[in-house]
Symmetry: C2
Subunit: 255 residues, 2 copies
DNA sequence: GAGACGCAACTGGTCTGACCAGTGGACTAG
DNA sequence: CTAGTCCACTGGTCAGACCAGTTGCGTCTC
Protein backbone atom coordinates (compact mmCIF):
# COMPACT_ATOMS: atom_id res chain seq x y z
CA UNK A 1 0.00 0.00 0.00
CA UNK A 2 2.24 2.75 -1.21
CA UNK A 3 1.07 6.28 -1.95
CA UNK A 4 0.77 9.12 0.37
CA UNK A 5 -2.09 9.13 2.72
CA UNK A 6 -4.63 11.47 1.24
CA UNK A 7 -5.64 14.35 3.46
CA UNK A 8 -8.92 13.12 4.80
CA UNK A 9 -11.79 15.17 3.41
CA UNK A 10 -15.20 14.81 4.91
CA UNK A 11 -18.36 15.86 3.18
CA UNK A 12 -20.58 18.22 5.11
CA UNK A 13 -23.37 16.21 6.60
CA UNK A 14 -26.91 17.21 5.96
CA UNK A 15 -29.73 15.37 7.61
CA UNK A 16 -32.53 14.48 5.28
CA UNK A 17 -35.97 14.21 6.74
CA UNK A 18 -37.69 10.89 6.48
CA UNK A 19 -40.72 12.30 4.71
CA UNK A 20 -38.40 13.90 2.17
CA UNK A 21 -36.87 10.54 1.43
CA UNK A 22 -40.31 9.14 0.81
CA UNK A 23 -41.12 11.97 -1.57
CA UNK A 24 -37.91 11.29 -3.43
CA UNK A 25 -38.56 7.59 -3.71
CA UNK A 26 -42.04 8.12 -5.11
CA UNK A 27 -40.96 10.84 -7.51
CA UNK A 28 -38.09 8.67 -8.67
CA UNK A 29 -40.43 5.78 -9.28
CA UNK A 30 -42.58 8.10 -11.31
CA UNK A 31 -39.62 9.37 -13.30
CA UNK A 32 -38.45 5.84 -13.98
CA UNK A 33 -41.88 4.87 -15.14
CA UNK A 34 -42.46 2.35 -12.37
CA UNK A 35 -45.40 4.53 -11.45
CA UNK A 36 -47.69 6.07 -14.03
CA UNK A 37 -50.50 8.61 -13.92
CA UNK A 38 -53.82 6.98 -13.19
CA UNK A 39 -52.21 4.32 -11.05
CA UNK A 40 -52.84 4.18 -7.35
CA UNK A 41 -50.37 4.30 -4.55
CA UNK A 42 -50.76 1.76 -1.77
CA UNK A 43 -52.90 2.99 1.09
CA UNK A 44 -51.29 5.10 3.77
CA UNK A 45 -51.20 2.20 6.21
CA UNK A 46 -49.59 0.01 3.59
CA UNK A 47 -46.99 2.66 2.88
CA UNK A 48 -46.27 2.75 6.60
CA UNK A 49 -45.12 -0.85 6.49
CA UNK A 50 -43.29 -0.52 3.17
CA UNK A 51 -41.33 2.58 4.18
CA UNK A 52 -41.04 1.42 7.79
CA UNK A 53 -42.02 4.80 9.19
CA UNK A 54 -44.97 6.08 11.12
CA UNK A 55 -48.17 7.18 9.52
CA UNK A 56 -47.51 10.83 10.36
CA UNK A 57 -44.36 10.68 8.29
CA UNK A 58 -46.10 9.04 5.38
CA UNK A 59 -48.82 11.65 5.52
CA UNK A 60 -46.36 14.54 5.56
CA UNK A 61 -44.76 13.08 2.45
CA UNK A 62 -48.17 12.74 0.82
CA UNK A 63 -48.93 16.37 1.63
CA UNK A 64 -45.79 17.45 -0.16
CA UNK A 65 -46.58 15.29 -3.17
CA UNK A 66 -50.13 16.55 -3.21
CA UNK A 67 -48.94 20.11 -3.02
CA UNK A 68 -46.73 19.36 -6.01
CA UNK A 69 -49.63 18.10 -8.04
CA UNK A 70 -48.23 14.60 -8.14
CA UNK A 71 -50.94 12.74 -6.26
CA UNK A 72 -54.35 13.35 -4.82
CA UNK A 73 -55.93 11.68 -1.81
CA UNK A 74 -59.63 11.37 -1.30
CA UNK A 75 -61.19 10.25 1.93
CA UNK A 76 -62.98 6.96 1.80
CA UNK A 77 -61.40 5.97 -1.46
CA UNK A 78 -60.87 2.22 -1.22
CA UNK A 79 -57.93 2.52 -3.56
CA UNK A 80 -54.90 4.43 -2.44
CA UNK A 81 -53.90 7.96 -3.38
CA UNK A 82 -54.22 8.63 -7.09
CA UNK A 83 -51.27 9.53 -9.29
CA UNK A 84 -52.25 12.56 -11.31
CA UNK A 85 -51.44 13.12 -14.96
CA UNK A 86 -48.60 15.49 -15.56
CA UNK A 87 -50.70 18.36 -16.75
CA UNK A 88 -53.15 18.57 -13.85
CA UNK A 89 -52.86 20.56 -10.73
CA UNK A 90 -51.58 24.06 -10.26
CA UNK A 91 -49.23 25.20 -12.95
CA UNK A 92 -46.46 26.29 -10.69
CA UNK A 93 -46.11 22.76 -9.47
CA UNK A 94 -45.45 21.58 -12.96
CA UNK A 95 -42.78 24.19 -13.35
CA UNK A 96 -41.03 23.23 -10.19
CA UNK A 97 -40.77 19.70 -11.31
CA UNK A 98 -38.41 20.88 -13.99
CA UNK A 99 -36.89 24.20 -13.18
CA UNK A 100 -35.45 25.59 -10.02
CA UNK A 101 -34.87 29.26 -9.91
CA UNK A 102 -31.46 28.80 -8.37
CA UNK A 103 -30.33 26.84 -11.40
CA UNK A 104 -31.13 29.67 -13.72
CA UNK A 105 -28.60 32.20 -14.88
CA UNK A 106 -29.32 35.89 -14.83
CA UNK A 107 -29.00 35.87 -18.59
CA UNK A 108 -31.79 33.34 -18.95
CA UNK A 109 -34.05 35.30 -16.66
CA UNK A 110 -33.48 38.54 -18.49
CA UNK A 111 -33.94 36.89 -21.86
CA UNK A 112 -37.21 35.55 -20.57
CA UNK A 113 -38.26 39.00 -19.44
CA UNK A 114 -37.35 40.48 -22.78
CA UNK A 115 -39.49 37.90 -24.52
CA UNK A 116 -42.43 38.25 -22.16
CA UNK A 117 -42.38 41.99 -21.96
CA UNK A 118 -41.89 42.39 -25.67
CA UNK A 119 -44.80 40.08 -26.41
CA UNK A 120 -47.05 41.81 -23.88
CA UNK A 121 -46.31 45.18 -25.42
CA UNK A 122 -46.82 43.89 -28.92
CA UNK A 123 -50.18 42.49 -27.90
CA UNK A 124 -51.04 45.70 -26.11
CA UNK A 125 -50.33 47.80 -29.17
CA UNK A 126 -52.89 45.78 -31.11
CA UNK A 127 -55.54 45.19 -28.54
CA UNK A 128 -55.56 48.41 -26.56
CA UNK A 129 -58.57 50.65 -26.39
CA UNK A 130 -58.25 54.41 -26.19
CA UNK A 131 -59.08 54.33 -22.50
CA UNK A 132 -56.34 51.82 -21.86
CA UNK A 133 -53.87 53.93 -23.79
CA UNK A 134 -54.79 56.89 -21.61
CA UNK A 135 -54.28 54.70 -18.57
CA UNK A 136 -50.79 53.81 -19.66
CA UNK A 137 -49.94 57.43 -20.33
CA UNK A 138 -51.19 58.23 -16.88
CA UNK A 139 -48.72 55.79 -15.36
CA UNK A 140 -45.97 57.62 -17.27
CA UNK A 141 -46.96 60.82 -15.52
CA UNK A 142 -46.84 59.01 -12.21
CA UNK A 143 -43.36 57.77 -13.03
CA UNK A 144 -42.19 61.29 -13.81
CA UNK A 145 -43.46 62.48 -10.46
CA UNK A 146 -41.92 59.56 -8.65
CA UNK A 147 -38.47 60.46 -9.92
CA UNK A 148 -38.48 63.48 -7.63
CA UNK A 149 -39.24 61.31 -4.63
CA UNK A 150 -36.87 58.38 -4.59
CA UNK A 151 -35.87 55.24 -6.40
CA UNK A 152 -38.35 53.03 -4.57
CA UNK A 153 -41.25 55.22 -5.64
CA UNK A 154 -40.00 55.17 -9.21
CA UNK A 155 -39.68 51.41 -9.13
CA UNK A 156 -43.23 51.14 -7.86
CA UNK A 157 -44.54 53.36 -10.61
CA UNK A 158 -42.62 51.30 -13.11
CA UNK A 159 -44.35 48.18 -11.86
CA UNK A 160 -47.69 49.93 -12.27
CA UNK A 161 -46.84 50.66 -15.89
CA UNK A 162 -45.97 47.09 -16.67
CA UNK A 163 -49.08 45.88 -14.94
CA UNK A 164 -51.19 48.17 -17.05
CA UNK A 165 -49.57 46.78 -20.16
CA UNK A 166 -50.09 43.24 -19.01
CA UNK A 167 -53.78 43.88 -18.39
CA UNK A 168 -54.19 45.15 -21.91
CA UNK A 169 -52.47 42.11 -23.32
CA UNK A 170 -55.32 39.99 -21.95
CA UNK A 171 -53.11 37.13 -20.94
CA UNK A 172 -52.88 36.32 -17.28
CA UNK A 173 -50.27 33.67 -17.87
CA UNK A 174 -48.03 36.21 -19.53
CA UNK A 175 -48.69 38.61 -16.71
CA UNK A 176 -47.93 36.06 -14.03
CA UNK A 177 -44.71 34.86 -15.57
CA UNK A 178 -43.57 38.39 -16.07
CA UNK A 179 -44.25 39.37 -12.49
CA UNK A 180 -42.58 36.35 -11.02
CA UNK A 181 -39.48 36.67 -13.13
CA UNK A 182 -39.27 40.38 -12.52
CA UNK A 183 -39.32 39.69 -8.80
CA UNK A 184 -36.57 37.12 -9.12
CA UNK A 185 -34.39 39.37 -11.25
CA UNK A 186 -34.81 42.27 -8.88
CA UNK A 187 -33.89 40.16 -5.89
CA UNK A 188 -30.79 38.93 -7.71
CA UNK A 189 -29.41 42.33 -8.58
CA UNK A 190 -31.00 44.54 -5.97
CA UNK A 191 -27.80 44.75 -3.98
CA UNK A 192 -25.89 45.95 -7.01
CA UNK A 193 -28.50 48.31 -8.33
CA UNK A 194 -28.93 50.02 -4.99
CA UNK A 195 -25.42 51.39 -5.25
CA UNK A 196 -25.97 53.04 -8.59
CA UNK A 197 -24.73 56.55 -8.14
CA UNK A 198 -26.37 58.36 -10.99
CA UNK A 199 -29.77 56.95 -10.27
CA UNK A 200 -31.60 60.10 -11.27
CA UNK A 201 -30.10 60.01 -14.71
CA UNK A 202 -30.98 56.34 -15.00
CA UNK A 203 -34.55 57.01 -14.00
CA UNK A 204 -34.92 59.82 -16.52
CA UNK A 205 -33.50 57.63 -19.23
CA UNK A 206 -35.80 54.80 -18.31
CA UNK A 207 -38.78 57.14 -18.37
CA UNK A 208 -37.76 58.35 -21.81
CA UNK A 209 -37.64 54.76 -23.02
CA UNK A 210 -41.06 54.02 -21.60
CA UNK A 211 -42.47 57.09 -23.30
CA UNK A 212 -41.09 55.90 -26.63
CA UNK A 213 -42.75 52.55 -26.11
CA UNK A 214 -46.07 54.17 -25.36
CA UNK A 215 -45.71 56.30 -28.45
CA UNK A 216 -45.20 53.18 -30.54
CA UNK A 217 -48.23 51.62 -28.90
CA UNK A 218 -50.26 54.68 -29.73
CA UNK A 219 -49.12 54.40 -33.34
CA UNK A 220 -50.17 50.75 -33.32
CA UNK A 221 -46.70 49.66 -34.35
CA UNK A 222 -46.44 46.50 -32.29
CA UNK A 223 -43.16 45.47 -33.83
CA UNK A 224 -41.41 48.71 -33.01
CA UNK A 225 -42.94 48.82 -29.54
CA UNK A 226 -41.76 45.33 -28.73
CA UNK A 227 -38.33 46.04 -30.08
CA UNK A 228 -38.02 49.18 -27.97
CA UNK A 229 -39.15 47.32 -24.89
CA UNK A 230 -36.57 44.62 -25.37
CA UNK A 231 -33.90 47.18 -26.06
CA UNK A 232 -34.79 49.01 -22.87
CA UNK A 233 -34.53 45.88 -20.79
CA UNK A 234 -31.21 45.10 -22.38
CA UNK A 235 -29.84 48.54 -21.66
CA UNK A 236 -31.12 48.38 -18.15
CA UNK A 237 -29.88 44.96 -17.15
CA UNK A 238 -27.10 43.95 -19.51
CA UNK A 239 -24.38 45.45 -17.34
CA UNK A 240 -25.13 42.80 -14.75
CA UNK A 241 -24.73 39.96 -17.22
CA UNK A 242 -21.24 38.62 -17.91
CA UNK A 243 -20.22 39.22 -21.51
CA UNK A 244 -20.28 35.68 -22.86
CA UNK A 245 -23.89 35.33 -21.71
CA UNK A 246 -25.09 38.38 -23.57
CA UNK A 247 -25.33 36.74 -26.98
CA UNK A 248 -28.85 35.43 -26.51
CA UNK A 249 -29.97 38.84 -25.30
CA UNK A 250 -28.59 40.56 -28.35
CA UNK A 251 -30.16 37.93 -30.55
CA UNK A 252 -33.51 38.98 -29.16
CA UNK A 253 -33.03 42.60 -30.08
CA UNK A 254 -31.84 42.81 -33.65
CA UNK A 255 -34.59 41.14 -35.51
CA UNK B 1 -92.91 40.44 2.87
CA UNK B 2 -94.26 40.21 -0.67
CA UNK B 3 -92.47 38.57 -3.48
CA UNK B 4 -92.35 35.02 -4.56
CA UNK B 5 -90.37 32.68 -2.54
CA UNK B 6 -87.09 32.24 -4.32
CA UNK B 7 -86.34 28.72 -5.42
CA UNK B 8 -83.93 27.60 -2.76
CA UNK B 9 -80.48 27.07 -4.17
CA UNK B 10 -77.89 25.31 -2.15
CA UNK B 11 -74.22 25.45 -2.85
CA UNK B 12 -72.48 22.14 -3.33
CA UNK B 13 -70.70 21.32 -0.13
CA UNK B 14 -67.05 20.53 -0.21
CA UNK B 15 -65.23 19.50 2.87
CA UNK B 16 -62.03 21.40 3.38
CA UNK B 17 -59.30 19.71 5.27
CA UNK B 18 -58.15 21.31 8.46
CA UNK B 19 -54.55 21.59 7.32
CA UNK B 20 -55.73 23.28 4.15
CA UNK B 21 -57.52 25.90 6.19
CA UNK B 22 -54.34 26.57 8.08
CA UNK B 23 -52.42 26.98 4.85
CA UNK B 24 -55.03 29.44 3.65
CA UNK B 25 -54.94 31.47 6.83
CA UNK B 26 -51.19 31.78 6.74
CA UNK B 27 -51.06 32.57 3.04
CA UNK B 28 -53.78 35.15 3.52
CA UNK B 29 -51.89 36.76 6.34
CA UNK B 30 -48.88 36.90 4.08
CA UNK B 31 -50.88 38.42 1.25
CA UNK B 32 -52.39 41.02 3.59
CA UNK B 33 -48.97 41.92 4.87
CA UNK B 34 -49.66 40.78 8.41
CA UNK B 35 -46.80 38.41 7.83
CA UNK B 36 -43.63 39.39 6.03
CA UNK B 37 -40.58 37.53 4.76
CA UNK B 38 -37.95 37.19 7.43
CA UNK B 39 -40.52 37.04 10.18
CA UNK B 40 -41.01 33.90 12.19
CA UNK B 41 -44.13 31.88 12.61
CA UNK B 42 -44.99 30.78 16.14
CA UNK B 43 -43.60 27.39 17.03
CA UNK B 44 -45.53 24.30 16.02
CA UNK B 45 -46.83 23.77 19.53
CA UNK B 46 -47.94 27.35 19.73
CA UNK B 47 -49.73 27.04 16.42
CA UNK B 48 -51.47 23.98 17.84
CA UNK B 49 -53.14 26.11 20.46
CA UNK B 50 -53.86 29.04 18.14
CA UNK B 51 -55.47 26.94 15.43
CA UNK B 52 -56.97 24.53 17.95
CA UNK B 53 -55.89 21.46 16.05
CA UNK B 54 -53.43 18.70 16.71
CA UNK B 55 -49.78 18.95 15.97
CA UNK B 56 -50.03 16.46 13.11
CA UNK B 57 -52.43 18.81 11.38
CA UNK B 58 -50.20 21.81 11.94
CA UNK B 59 -47.26 19.89 10.60
CA UNK B 60 -49.11 18.79 7.48
CA UNK B 61 -49.95 22.41 6.82
CA UNK B 62 -46.33 23.40 7.35
CA UNK B 63 -45.24 20.72 4.90
CA UNK B 64 -47.52 22.19 2.25
CA UNK B 65 -46.26 25.70 2.92
CA UNK B 66 -42.69 24.49 2.87
CA UNK B 67 -43.28 22.69 -0.40
CA UNK B 68 -44.64 25.97 -1.77
CA UNK B 69 -41.53 27.84 -0.80
CA UNK B 70 -43.40 29.98 1.71
CA UNK B 71 -41.69 28.90 4.91
CA UNK B 72 -38.78 26.81 6.03
CA UNK B 73 -38.46 24.87 9.27
CA UNK B 74 -35.17 23.99 10.85
CA UNK B 75 -34.83 21.58 13.72
CA UNK B 76 -33.65 23.06 16.93
CA UNK B 77 -34.35 26.59 15.85
CA UNK B 78 -35.55 28.39 18.95
CA UNK B 79 -37.61 30.69 16.76
CA UNK B 80 -40.46 29.27 14.80
CA UNK B 81 -40.53 28.42 11.10
CA UNK B 82 -39.04 31.16 8.94
CA UNK B 83 -41.02 33.02 6.34
CA UNK B 84 -39.06 33.03 3.12
CA UNK B 85 -38.74 35.94 0.71
CA UNK B 86 -40.94 35.75 -2.32
CA UNK B 87 -38.21 34.92 -4.76
CA UNK B 88 -36.76 31.93 -2.99
CA UNK B 89 -37.71 28.35 -3.38
CA UNK B 90 -38.74 26.49 -6.47
CA UNK B 91 -40.09 28.67 -9.23
CA UNK B 92 -43.17 26.67 -9.91
CA UNK B 93 -44.35 27.43 -6.43
CA UNK B 94 -44.19 31.09 -7.17
CA UNK B 95 -46.23 30.58 -10.28
CA UNK B 96 -48.88 28.58 -8.51
CA UNK B 97 -49.34 31.33 -6.04
CA UNK B 98 -50.76 33.38 -8.84
CA UNK B 99 -51.94 31.27 -11.71
CA UNK B 100 -53.99 28.14 -11.83
CA UNK B 101 -54.08 26.30 -15.05
CA UNK B 102 -57.81 25.77 -14.79
CA UNK B 103 -58.40 29.50 -14.78
CA UNK B 104 -56.64 29.94 -18.08
CA UNK B 105 -58.38 30.01 -21.40
CA UNK B 106 -57.16 27.97 -24.31
CA UNK B 107 -56.49 31.22 -26.12
CA UNK B 108 -54.12 32.40 -23.45
CA UNK B 109 -52.27 29.13 -23.44
CA UNK B 110 -51.86 29.08 -27.18
CA UNK B 111 -50.79 32.70 -27.26
CA UNK B 112 -48.19 31.81 -24.68
CA UNK B 113 -46.98 28.93 -26.77
CA UNK B 114 -46.75 31.13 -29.82
CA UNK B 115 -44.65 33.61 -27.90
CA UNK B 116 -42.40 31.00 -26.34
CA UNK B 117 -41.93 28.91 -29.40
CA UNK B 118 -41.37 31.91 -31.61
CA UNK B 119 -38.76 33.28 -29.25
CA UNK B 120 -37.02 29.92 -28.93
CA UNK B 121 -36.83 29.60 -32.68
CA UNK B 122 -35.62 33.13 -33.09
CA UNK B 123 -32.88 32.48 -30.58
CA UNK B 124 -32.06 29.18 -32.21
CA UNK B 125 -31.60 30.79 -35.60
CA UNK B 126 -28.97 33.10 -34.14
CA UNK B 127 -27.21 30.81 -31.75
CA UNK B 128 -27.20 27.50 -33.54
CA UNK B 129 -24.04 25.75 -34.59
CA UNK B 130 -23.83 23.69 -37.73
CA UNK B 131 -24.02 20.49 -35.73
CA UNK B 132 -27.18 21.66 -34.02
CA UNK B 133 -28.71 22.55 -37.36
CA UNK B 134 -27.96 19.06 -38.58
CA UNK B 135 -29.58 17.70 -35.44
CA UNK B 136 -32.75 19.62 -36.12
CA UNK B 137 -32.83 18.43 -39.70
CA UNK B 138 -32.43 14.91 -38.42
CA UNK B 139 -35.55 15.26 -36.30
CA UNK B 140 -37.39 16.33 -39.45
CA UNK B 141 -36.41 13.07 -41.08
CA UNK B 142 -37.68 11.23 -38.03
CA UNK B 143 -40.97 13.09 -38.29
CA UNK B 144 -41.34 12.10 -41.92
CA UNK B 145 -40.81 8.47 -41.01
CA UNK B 146 -43.22 8.69 -38.08
CA UNK B 147 -46.04 9.80 -40.35
CA UNK B 148 -46.15 6.32 -41.83
CA UNK B 149 -46.54 4.79 -38.39
CA UNK B 150 -49.27 6.62 -36.50
CA UNK B 151 -50.21 9.91 -34.97
CA UNK B 152 -48.65 9.14 -31.61
CA UNK B 153 -45.29 8.48 -33.21
CA UNK B 154 -45.55 11.70 -35.15
CA UNK B 155 -46.45 13.62 -32.05
CA UNK B 156 -43.43 12.17 -30.30
CA UNK B 157 -41.14 13.14 -33.13
CA UNK B 158 -42.62 16.61 -33.04
CA UNK B 159 -41.77 16.89 -29.37
CA UNK B 160 -38.22 15.84 -30.17
CA UNK B 161 -37.96 18.64 -32.70
CA UNK B 162 -39.12 21.27 -30.28
CA UNK B 163 -36.79 19.96 -27.64
CA UNK B 164 -33.89 20.25 -30.02
CA UNK B 165 -34.84 23.84 -30.73
CA UNK B 166 -35.17 24.63 -27.05
CA UNK B 167 -31.73 23.20 -26.35
CA UNK B 168 -30.21 25.45 -28.96
CA UNK B 169 -31.93 28.48 -27.51
CA UNK B 170 -29.89 27.99 -24.33
CA UNK B 171 -32.71 28.93 -22.02
CA UNK B 172 -33.98 26.28 -19.70
CA UNK B 173 -36.74 28.54 -18.42
CA UNK B 174 -38.05 28.98 -21.92
CA UNK B 175 -37.78 25.28 -22.46
CA UNK B 176 -39.59 24.40 -19.27
CA UNK B 177 -42.45 26.81 -19.81
CA UNK B 178 -42.87 25.59 -23.31
CA UNK B 179 -43.01 21.97 -22.29
CA UNK B 180 -45.44 22.53 -19.49
CA UNK B 181 -47.80 24.63 -21.55
CA UNK B 182 -47.61 22.23 -24.44
CA UNK B 183 -48.64 19.44 -22.11
CA UNK B 184 -51.55 21.45 -20.80
CA UNK B 185 -52.74 22.42 -24.25
CA UNK B 186 -52.54 18.86 -25.47
CA UNK B 187 -54.49 17.58 -22.51
CA UNK B 188 -57.16 20.19 -23.14
CA UNK B 189 -57.74 19.37 -26.78
CA UNK B 190 -56.57 15.80 -26.99
CA UNK B 191 -60.11 14.47 -27.10
CA UNK B 192 -60.95 16.68 -30.04
CA UNK B 193 -57.77 16.20 -31.97
CA UNK B 194 -57.93 12.46 -31.71
CA UNK B 195 -61.02 12.45 -33.92
CA UNK B 196 -59.41 14.34 -36.73
CA UNK B 197 -60.17 12.32 -39.83
CA UNK B 198 -57.59 13.58 -42.25
CA UNK B 199 -54.75 13.23 -39.83
CA UNK B 200 -52.27 12.15 -42.49
CA UNK B 201 -52.83 15.34 -44.43
CA UNK B 202 -52.45 17.34 -41.24
CA UNK B 203 -49.21 15.63 -40.39
CA UNK B 204 -47.78 16.23 -43.84
CA UNK B 205 -48.74 19.86 -43.65
CA UNK B 206 -47.21 20.19 -40.21
CA UNK B 207 -44.03 18.59 -41.44
CA UNK B 208 -43.90 21.03 -44.34
CA UNK B 209 -44.24 23.92 -41.92
CA UNK B 210 -41.48 22.59 -39.74
CA UNK B 211 -39.24 22.24 -42.75
CA UNK B 212 -39.85 25.85 -43.66
CA UNK B 213 -38.91 26.90 -40.15
CA UNK B 214 -35.69 24.94 -40.30
CA UNK B 215 -34.92 26.49 -43.64
CA UNK B 216 -35.31 29.95 -42.14
CA UNK B 217 -33.09 28.92 -39.24
CA UNK B 218 -30.48 27.73 -41.69
CA UNK B 219 -30.66 31.07 -43.45
CA UNK B 220 -30.22 32.79 -40.09
CA UNK B 221 -33.41 34.74 -40.58
CA UNK B 222 -34.69 34.68 -37.02
CA UNK B 223 -37.56 36.98 -37.71
CA UNK B 224 -38.96 34.88 -40.51
CA UNK B 225 -38.40 31.67 -38.59
CA UNK B 226 -40.26 32.97 -35.56
CA UNK B 227 -43.08 34.26 -37.71
CA UNK B 228 -43.44 30.92 -39.43
CA UNK B 229 -43.45 29.10 -36.13
CA UNK B 230 -46.21 31.30 -34.76
CA UNK B 231 -48.19 30.95 -37.93
CA UNK B 232 -47.90 27.17 -37.72
CA UNK B 233 -49.14 27.09 -34.19
CA UNK B 234 -52.02 29.33 -35.13
CA UNK B 235 -52.99 27.14 -38.07
CA UNK B 236 -52.69 24.08 -35.94
CA UNK B 237 -54.67 25.19 -32.92
CA UNK B 238 -56.86 28.11 -33.89
CA UNK B 239 -59.79 25.92 -34.82
CA UNK B 240 -60.15 24.97 -31.18
CA UNK B 241 -60.29 28.59 -30.05
CA UNK B 242 -63.65 30.38 -30.15
CA UNK B 243 -63.60 33.24 -32.63
CA UNK B 244 -63.70 36.21 -30.24
CA UNK B 245 -60.63 34.88 -28.46
CA UNK B 246 -58.54 34.71 -31.60
CA UNK B 247 -57.67 38.38 -31.76
CA UNK B 248 -54.62 38.13 -29.51
CA UNK B 249 -53.37 35.19 -31.53
CA UNK B 250 -53.63 37.10 -34.78
CA UNK B 251 -51.96 40.07 -33.18
CA UNK B 252 -48.96 37.85 -32.55
CA UNK B 253 -48.65 36.84 -36.16
CA UNK B 254 -48.76 39.92 -38.32
CA UNK B 255 -45.89 41.91 -37.01
C1' DG C 1 -84.54 -14.62 -8.43
C1' DA C 2 -84.39 -9.54 -7.49
C1' DG C 3 -84.03 -5.94 -4.67
C1' DA C 4 -83.43 -3.65 -0.08
C1' DC C 5 -81.01 -3.80 4.06
C1' DG C 6 -77.18 -3.95 7.10
C1' DC C 7 -72.83 -5.17 8.59
C1' DA C 8 -67.78 -5.45 8.20
C1' DA C 9 -63.64 -4.01 6.24
C1' DC C 10 -61.48 -0.87 4.32
C1' DT C 11 -60.14 4.34 3.24
C1' DG C 12 -58.23 9.06 4.62
C1' DG C 13 -58.56 12.89 8.37
C1' DT C 14 -57.63 13.94 12.94
C1' DC C 15 -56.18 13.57 17.72
C1' DT C 16 -53.35 12.42 21.91
C1' DG C 17 -49.26 11.83 24.02
C1' DA C 18 -44.78 10.48 23.98
C1' DC C 19 -39.59 10.30 22.94
C1' DC C 20 -35.42 11.94 20.65
C1' DA C 21 -31.64 14.99 19.12
C1' DG C 22 -30.44 19.24 18.55
C1' DT C 23 -30.09 24.47 20.04
C1' DG C 24 -29.55 28.50 22.94
C1' DG C 25 -29.81 30.94 27.09
C1' DA C 26 -29.43 31.10 32.01
C1' DC C 27 -27.07 29.76 35.72
C1' DT C 28 -23.06 28.37 38.31
C1' DA C 29 -18.30 27.14 39.60
C1' DG C 30 -13.77 28.37 38.84
C1' DC D 1 -14.94 37.13 33.22
C1' DT D 2 -14.84 32.68 31.47
C1' DA D 3 -15.96 27.61 31.19
C1' DG D 4 -18.93 24.45 32.07
C1' DT D 5 -23.38 22.53 33.11
C1' DC D 6 -28.11 22.34 32.79
C1' DC D 7 -32.66 23.11 31.28
C1' DA D 8 -36.26 24.70 28.49
C1' DC D 9 -37.22 25.04 24.24
C1' DT D 10 -37.26 23.64 19.03
C1' DG D 11 -38.57 20.39 15.10
C1' DG D 12 -38.68 15.22 13.62
C1' DT D 13 -40.64 10.94 14.52
C1' DC D 14 -43.35 7.42 16.53
C1' DA D 15 -47.32 4.51 18.36
C1' DG D 16 -51.95 3.91 18.82
C1' DA D 17 -56.49 5.42 18.73
C1' DC D 18 -61.11 7.33 17.02
C1' DC D 19 -64.17 9.15 13.47
C1' DA D 20 -66.68 9.61 9.14
C1' DG D 21 -67.04 8.21 4.96
C1' DT D 22 -67.12 4.47 1.01
C1' DT D 23 -67.39 -0.20 -0.87
C1' DG D 24 -68.74 -4.72 -1.19
C1' DC D 25 -70.66 -8.74 0.38
C1' DG D 26 -73.94 -11.49 2.62
C1' DT D 27 -78.53 -11.86 4.27
C1' DC D 28 -83.20 -11.13 4.46
C1' DT D 29 -87.49 -10.15 2.50
C1' DC D 30 -90.89 -9.98 -1.20
Amino acid sequence: MAGRIQPLRFEPVQTVRAYQRIVEQIEDALARGDLAPGQRLPSERELVTQFAVSRSTVREALRVLESNGVVRSRPGDPNGPEILPFSQGPLRKQMTRLARVDELTLSELIAFRMIMDGAAIQLASRLRTDEQLAEMEQTLVAMREAIDIDFAAFSEADVAFHEAVARVSRNSLLQTCNEVVRGVVLSLISDKIAHATNSRALMLESLQHHAEVVEAIRAGDGHAAARLARQNLYDYYATYVPEPDRDPLRALIDD
